[in-house]
Symmetry: C2
């Protein structure tokens, strides 16, 4: 599958697919033609793409997803390790929520003073 077909299949732009590939998130094969090399994407890369999107929805950065995929490819992404990563991320999300809630509280206090 060339990039256009793959991008359409997963519902992303070709630029995004190229970007993910450069980041090492997706693995592309190569097909030569004259002086040019065209990237090809196998079926399993679509599953990989879905995995990436799910991780993104969980709040992971592309960098973190790349690291996790590398571990997965190496076979070292055990259930325990997965749990660890999820718990770490949960903590950082909770921190961010707490910091936003603090801003929210200050805003409400300020609003009350302003409205009063």
């Amino acid at each position: 599958m060339l990039i256009g077909e793959f991008a359409q299949a997963v519902g992303a732009s070709k630029d995004t697919v190229r970007f993910y590939t450069r980041m090492g998130l997706l693995q592309a094969g190569e097909r030569s033609a004259g002086q040019r090399h065209y990237a090809t994407y196998a079926e399993d890369q679509a599953e990989r793409f879905v995995f990436i999107e799910q991780c993104k929805a969980l709040g992971f950065t592309l960098r973190e997803i790349g690291d996790a995929l590398t571990e997965r490819d190496a076979g070292s992404l055990t259930a325990l390790r997965q749990q660890e990563l999820l718990e770490q991320k949960l903590r950082t999300i909770e921190e961010r929520i707490a910091s936003l809630r603090s801003a929210e509280g200050k805003l409400r206090a300020k609003l009350e003073r302003t409205t009063r």
Copy 2:
């Protein structure tokens, strides 16, 4: 007051002061010496700096703070207008919290499935 003294007075780096000045958040005077021009900061700029920090703590971006300061300087930052800006910001903060909570919920669900 030259930049070094001012920066120390407000507890920021000289680079930050220059950055804010370029952004239009702080207003500097000018003192010439030979071919060079040195920025000077009056007392009221320290209050301005405190205002900026408070706004940042409320979740406003530097751009938004700059706009608000411009309105304040023009005398058009009425209590009603302030309330409006605070309410707008409160809404965006709430949206961000909601989106983080969604990620949090998904993470917890995933953790439960993984741990089980």
